[in-house]
Symmetry: C2
Subunit: 136 residues, 2 copies
């Protein structure tokens, strides 16, 4: 489900294009969340950074993730089964499946999950669907 990893220079261009100054920390985090990670939490980003970057503070992890979300490169999800946020590089419309056997979250294509409403007098802006279940 993950595209092959982008070079730092490509990440840099993406950050610039989105109006985010490409610092070393931001490039490292962006590369990890956009290319390597799967629905990581801030804590997981920090662990990765501790192992792969000379020195990074937790505040920088949060600042950077927030900056990437604000720039539209990342989406922040608050899943009901976790008390920490997760970050998703899939910014197209999609839903989520929690496999309760493994605790892993999978993206669901809107083609596979349709929501139809009969609501009147409601202007719908966004629909979140979160399915709990288990995969065979």
């Amino acid at each position: 489900m993950k595209q092959s990893c982008l070079a730092p220079s490509e990440i840099e261009s993406r950050l610039k294009a989105a109006g985010v100054q490409p610092t070393a920390q931001r490039i490292a985090i962006a590369r990890y969340v956009l290319c390597e990670a799967d629905h990581p939490t801030a804590e997981q980003v920090k662990s990765w950074a501790d192992a792969n970057f000379p020195k990074m503070s937790m505040a920088t992890v949060y600042n950077t993730l927030n900056a990437l979300v604000d720039a539209g490169l990342l989406k922040k999800h608050a899943f009901p089964h976790l008390n920490e946020a997760t970050y998703d590089d899939n910014i197209t419309e999609h839903y989520h499946l929690l496999d309760e056997k493994t605790g892993r979250v999978f993206d669901l294509d809107p083609a596979d999950v349709k929501v139809t409403t009969k609501l009147k007098g409601v202007r719908i802006k966004e629909v979140d669907v979160f399915i709990r279940g288990s995969r065979a």
Copy 2:
């Protein structure tokens, strides 16, 4: 949307029937959340208690709400737009609409919101739908 309020004695029976010892605090909280409140947070239950019960600690509010959830009388929701949990006396299957104009959450009848999936190899246990929008 709220049924007319139940007498304390009726609440007491309901608690007993659900296997929850009916203490004064539990009856008071249960009556408030089952009859009066609308998707309250623990903080709102505490505020109500401060105004309507001689003395109640925050721990008791949380303990009681958890007990009611465990007993199946209440459902706990973690909505993505709030960082605190809300409690819902509607324990039948239903979905939620956040009116972004007012911040209020409305219950949606499953008859008005249908979710159909084409997922294969997935045993679905529960589906959460959370719609953001605004009401006319």
